[in-house]
């Protein structure tokens, strides 16, 4: 006869253990881990490049020491773009996998000079669905959505937009050329996640980057105060 076994356990139990290990290590070292999630082509890598460049223009006392973990299905192009800026980076290839998982991030930490890092970005695989499901041990997730993708993304992908601490709207310079209603986009964000911080960024011209960096200042300070 079959017998009943109570489990009452998340499907992500193993993942949770790895995520906790990442969180514990980065907590001890005071490193802020930010998990960037957006569609392919939303401008995640370009946003990171612009953020890293803008960071080097800051006075030395206010400059973050950054590192990046790049997640892609294939190629090391993104990590090469980051490395070209002199920032330590690790590429994870998921070889078909549509998202990163905590054990991959945990392994990648070993390849980074964590003792000399304040801010660690993870650029997740381009996808608005699966990456939202997986805890990588990050301090928080950030949704990156671009103007040409349309104003309906928050409502179509509510799980992601509900989870994030911040929403970054990129490619704001394209607004005159596409049909995009900021009222609808931000209205839906407000309803799904009223406390999410909002940023408007044009990574090419540099608009909005200072606000984004100031947000990161606050979050890092808050983490280190704890």
């Amino acid at each position: 006869m079959p017998r009943l076994v109570n489990i009452r356990r998340s499907v992500f139990e193993e993942d949770r253990r790895n995520a906790e290990a990442v969180r514990e290590e980065l907590g001890r070292r005071g490193v802020l881990l930010v998990n960037l999630i957006g569609s392919p082509g939303a401008g995640k890598t370009t946003l990171l490049e612009a953020t890293l460049r803008k960071n080097t223009e800051r006075p030395e006392t206010r400059r973050f020491r950054c590192a990046v973990i790049e997640g892609d299905v294939a190629t090391s192009r993104d990590a090469e773009r980051i490395a070209a800026l002199g920032v330590p980076s690790v590429q994870i290839n998921t070889e078909g996998g549509c998202h990163l998982e905590a054990h991959l991030v945990r392994k990648a930490l070993g390849a980074l000079p964590l003792g000399e890092v304040d801010l660690l970005f993870v650029e997740n695989v381009g996808n608005l669905v699966c990456p939202a499901e997986f805890d990588l041990g990050e301090d928080f997730k950030v949704a990156v959505s671009s103007v040409p993708e349309g104003d309906d993304k928050p409502l179509k992908y509510p799980h992601l937009f509900h989870l994030v601490r911040a929403v970054i709207l990129t490619k704001t310079d394209l607004a005159p050329y596409v049909r995009f209603s900021p009222e609808r986009f931000w209205g839906d964000v407000e309803n799904l996640n009223p406390s999410a911080r909002r940023f408007l960024v044009d990574s090419i011209q540099g608009d909005g980057l200072e606000e984004w960096l100031s947000g990161l200042d606050e979050w890092l300070e808050e983490k280190r105060r704890r």
Partner: protein, 132 residues
């Protein structure tokens, strides 16, 4: 197709438990799935069929138990069932609200068969220990 990612995590978790606890076969899985997860049940079932092939999970009935959304307001304590599109408290309009239920992806229970129960498993068991 995030259903396949979810199913992979589900199978990994159960296969590990099965190995630790020596299950011969899993015949039923009760899975609580929160509405916020946007899981399409048919797709989940299809992925499960594919992913479970050749394992102790093959042929198990996957019961998907939907969990509707339930919000709580951290300002006024109001609790309300809602849809995914609005997290504002309908009572006081507060933004400090929490999703109390609806994000689950939890294995509630499983039905398992232990070794030695079905005739073919019994034979297998005895052959492996050679104590017939």
């Amino acid at each position: 197709m995030h259903e396949l990612s979810l199913v992979e995590a589900l199978c990994k978790e159960l296969l590990q438990q099965g190995q630790e606890q020596g299950w011969a076969r899993v015949t039923r899985i009760a899975l609580r799935v929160g509405e916020m997860r946007q899981v399409v049940p048919d797709v989940l079932l299809f992925c499960f069929d594919v992913a479970s092939k050749g394992t102790i999970l093959e042929g198990a009935v996957l019961d998907i138990v939907p969990v509707p959304l339930l919000w709580t307001c951290r300002e006024c304590g109001n609790v309300w069932p809602g849809d995914a599109a609005c997290a504002l408290c309908p009572n006081c309009g507060a933004v400090r609200t929490e999703l109390q239920e609806g994000a689950e992806l939890e294995i509630d229970f499983v039905e398992v068969e232990d070794f030695g129960e079905s005739p073919e498993e019994a034979t297998k068991e005895c052959r492996s220990c050679q104590d017939w």
